[in-house]
Amino acid sequence: MFTAILSQLFPLLPLALAVYISFFILRATDLTLDGSFVLGAAVFAKMLELNYAPMLAGIAALTAGMLAGTGVALIQRKQKIDSLLAGILATFVLLSVNLLIMGRPNISLLAKVTLVSTGINASDLSVNILSGAYSSILCLGVCLILVTRYGLLLRAFGDNPNLLHRLGKNVETHRIGGFALTNSLAAASGCLTAQTIGYADIGMGFGLTLTALGAVILGQQLLQKLSPKHLLHGIQAFAVCLLGVAFYLLATNGLLRLNLNPIYLKMVLGLTLIMFLRTANICTTKRIYESPTT
């Protein structure tokens, strides 16, 4: 079970970070991440099929995610369309785009040399180590960005875009920057997932954003219990995502081991999450406007 969790943990980590950034830093409900996840996998698989180098394919996948993020930011430009609606629309469009790229609903990568296969003898362990390395480097890099001045501006954008504009900053470039960042993370996640499971599939991203959101919220609760002290922002983001995804995978794999019919899996997890949230009493956006009652 441990290796099963490990093999799922690292590919999902960038997606969790993407969800963390978009929901808690940019304060946008960005469902495009579902589509970008598949887009990353699709671009990577198609390029391998066309015999491009895996590294190049990986970079192309990240770039595709960035473009998707730029697109969804442009849809919302000047707050004309709500981020939730823009995300749904973008996912809708991406469904066609992904099919166009792949040319068919799925592409197998089993016979290909990928970024995580060493080429000669791809054991489970080496796949996990490599995907872990890629995912950790990427996530830590992004977490580093979060503690820079640019990261502060992104948080300012999420918190009070009007004031950011009044300070003489271009709000739209920060919107584009933020969404490009999150969507390329999601694409990286899709790309890594396709490599570890051995294929890219048009439906592989369905519901993943919400699942990752659940994991991230769990992670936040866990971190608060473990270390109530305020951590540096970048470290906190990384810790929340790692804890959340690990706990989520532990729970799903555990439930499946208990011979739970997989049909009930999402329902059980969803209900658990609701209970968790009710008792924890957190509210992502409104909390900041409440004055302390004690």
């Binding site: 502060l152 300012a156 009070n160 504009h165 300070l167 003489g168 305020h230 409440e290 004055s291």
Partner: protein, 253 residues
């Protein structure tokens, strides 16, 4: 006579979907060093006038010139370093879920970053700066702004805007959400700061005492029009009763 800092020419503003105009043909000049009291009842157009000056709403007709240049011709960055508005709602001027220190750093974005780079130790610099405004603030660098008290938030807003004093400060009843004691304290303090830095300022109020105590000129608005103007000499001679008369309904047809 020196040039006006701000010149309002034939300014009218009719919001979309409203048949009557909120501001109606306003002409006024504000000179460097002026402290103008903008008096008027609710709905007289005080806030709308300040919002138009501050580019938060766009005038339907007419022009506003800042240092002889149309305000619409300034870049947002240039404009932000010259004109600052404080309102009673601190969310207009602060990032509520960020910390005090982060808000300090972001306030510097208004200026060129070089000013900041010259500071050897930014934390020390902010600490001494904030202490002039409120002693508590400097001890709460890592506190989220949303948990500060209303008075502390307003003091922070004022402190941040004085990191680099603007040419024109617009005060849109910025103390009216505070309790009387805190409001009085902040108002006095604001007046002191304005005096120290020789900032040109417009203060809106419907409190007659405030209108008499502060400022060197007074502009009374009613129904979006200038109903009375008083220069420095005339303003000094005003009594509370005179002002009360300004509030009487102009005429009921």
């Amino acid at each position: 006579m020196n040039h006006p800092l701000l010149e309002i020419k034939n300014l009218s503003y009719t919001p979309q979907g409203l048949s009557r105009s909120v501001l109606n043909n306003i002409n006024y000049k504000i000179y460097p060093g002026d402290f103008v009291i903008l008096l008027g009842s609710n709905g007289s157009g005080k806030s709308s006038l300040l919002k138009t000056i501050d580019r938060r709403t766009e005038a339907t007709t007419g022009d506003i010139l800042l240092s002889n240049k149309k305000i619409s011709h300034y870049s947002q960055k240039e404009f932000a370093s010259q004109v600052i508005t404080l309102t009673q709602n601190t969310v207009d001027s602060l990032f509520p879920s960020l910390t005090v220190l982060e808000n300090c750093f972001l306030a510097l974005e208004r200026l060129s970053i070089k000013t900041f780079l010259n500071q050897q130790n930014p934390k020390q610099f902010f600490s001494t700066h904030l202490k002039q405004f409120n002693n508590n603030l400097a001890h709460h660098f890592s506190t989220h702004v949303s948990v500060l008290s209303g008075g502390e938030q307003q003091a922070l807003v004022l402190a941040l805007s004085m990191l680099h004093p603007p040419k024109l400060l617009l005060l849109d009843e910025h103390v009216s959400a505070l309790d009387p004691k805190a409001a009085e304290h902040l108002l006095k303090f604001t007046a002191k700061i304005i005096d120290e830095h020789k900032i040109t300022c417009v203060l809106t109020t419907h409190d007659l005492k405030t209108a008499l105590r502060f400022g060197n000129r007074l502009l009374a608005l009613s129904n979006g029009k200038v109903s009375r103007e008083f220069n420095e000499k005339e303003k000094k001679a005003l009594t509370q009763e005179d002002l009360l008369n300004l509030y009487l309904p102009p005429q009921i047809i």
